[in-house]
């Protein structure tokens, strides 16, 4: 079903709109949630449902003229999954000890946490390619370095180097703007 039709349905018939939105974009949301919540099936299902309920709640206040339904849903999914992850982390300290959610480095963790903030997005937007895509995939979508390397046909070392240099550059730019990570 076309995005415009889904948006109209969300505005006029919540049940049908949610069904069609989930049918079309549920797989995308699941893909994003899995990267953050791993094999927590029930949490992933809750997260998918929360994502589309959030879309439904905000459908009247968002300008979809640019056709950013996919991007918008991906963004909600990512933030919803992080919130659930943080809740799980608070409730179960032994959870996520062995997964690859983000690196243990504080800076990476902070970038991941703050990467939806406008200033960080502005800095990432100014990056050239492929660094920009690498950063978004790593810190916004939490893809593994190995997977990013495969997708962009780069070596793992190249991706690691670009992330390392990019982080240093970001840190410098943020400090210049009076923000410390």
């Amino acid at each position: 079903m076309e995005d415009n039709t889904i948006i109209l349905l969300l505005k006029t018939d919540a049940s049908q709109g949610l069904y069609e939105a989930t049918k079309k974009y549920g797989g995308l949301v699941k893909g994003i949630c899995i990267k953050i919540l791993h094999n927590r099936v029930e949490d992933i299902e809750e997260c998918i449902a929360d994502t589309f309920v959030s879309l439904w709640k905000n459908v009247n206040s968002i300008d979809f003229n640019k056709g950013a339904l996919k991007g918008y849903i991906a963004s909600i999914a990512r933030n919803t999954a992080i919130n659930r992850y943080n809740k799980l982390k608070r409730e179960q300290t032994d959870y996520i000890q062995n997964n690859d959610f983000v690196s243990e480095e504080d800076l990476e963790d902070e970038i991941a946490r703050k990467s939806d903030s406008a200033i960080l997005q502005e800095l990432i937007n100014d990056m050239g390619e492929p660094d920009k895509e690498i950063f978004i995939r790593r810190f916004f979508l939490f893809e593994r370095v190995k997977d990013i390397a495969n997708r962009l046909q780069l070596t793992i070392k190249t991706v690691d180097n670009k992330l390392f240099r990019g982080k240093q550059k970001l840190r410098k730019q943020l400090i210049e703007r009076g923000i410390t990570l």
């Binding site: 076309e2 349905l9 797989g27 309920v53």
Partner: protein, 218 residues
């Protein structure tokens, strides 16, 4: 004018829109289960709103509320009775029409439509979407073209697929954007005389076919 924050958010959303993001297919059972969860969450949100409203009423003073209630009932009862006889109005974003002329009449302006389509294509569906977009399906036994027009100054195609090939051409002094993959044109859009137009073909059209259709829109 947008501020920097909005711009950077828009940029990220647009970037995500165009990115290939890994997708994991939902099974039919999963889809049903998640949809059930969504409906429960919507229901619980409505209940929470009701509870908050009830608490507020108590704290505001039930006596005053009752007084206002009695007063307003005495004024509005005749109007309520009058409304009971009227049918509930449900807004339907899709209204189907038997023919194009009736739909254009309903639309309220002289909408331009194709007068000549490739051979074997016949009109299969005429719809007005959201009171503003005229949408006409032309079909053969196996193929379909969706044509849309509106006075809205926005993308009315409803197709946000990222295509490999995007280019601008001129037909009849109109700047036309064509999008497609592998030499097939799937989406065509343009603006003319403050009206927006789009044409979508799932199976893809040739440039010659597109030009033939657009040259005969009146």
């Amino acid at each position: 004018m947008k501020d920097n924050n909005t711009n950077s958010t828009d940029n990220l959303l647009e970037y995500l829109d165009e990115m290939e993001i890994d997708s994991v297919e939902l099974s039919k059972d999963e889809l049903q289960k998640i949809h059930k969860l969504e409906l429960e969450k919507i229901k619980s949100k409505k209940v929470k709103v009701s509870k908050r409203f009830f608490n507020w009423k108590i704290s505001s003073g039930l006596v005053a509320a009752c007084f206002v209630l009695v007063l307003s009932i005495s004024i509005s009862v005749p109007k309520i009775i009058e409304h009971i006889d009227q049918p509930t109005k449900i807004v339907n974003p899709y209204i189907e029409y038997n023919d194009v002329d009736t739909a254009i009449e309903e639309l309220g302006y002289d909408a331009m439509v194709p007068t000549k389509m490739p051979e074997e294509y016949t009109i299969s569906n005429v719809v007005i979407i959201d009171n503003t977009i005229l949408s006409i399906d032309y079909e053969t036994a196996s193929e379909k073209i969706n044509y849309r027009t509106s006075e809205k100054n926005e993308d009315i195609s409803g197709d946000f697929t990222i295509y490999e090939d995007v280019k601008q051409i001129q037909i009849d002094n109109k700047d036309i954007t064509i999008k497609g993959n592998h030499d097939k044109i799937h989406l065509v859009s343009w603006k003319h005389n403050n009206q927006s137009f789009s044409m979508y073909s799932n199976q893809g059209l040739s440039q010659k076919q597109v030009i033939g259709i657009i040259e005969n829109i009146e």
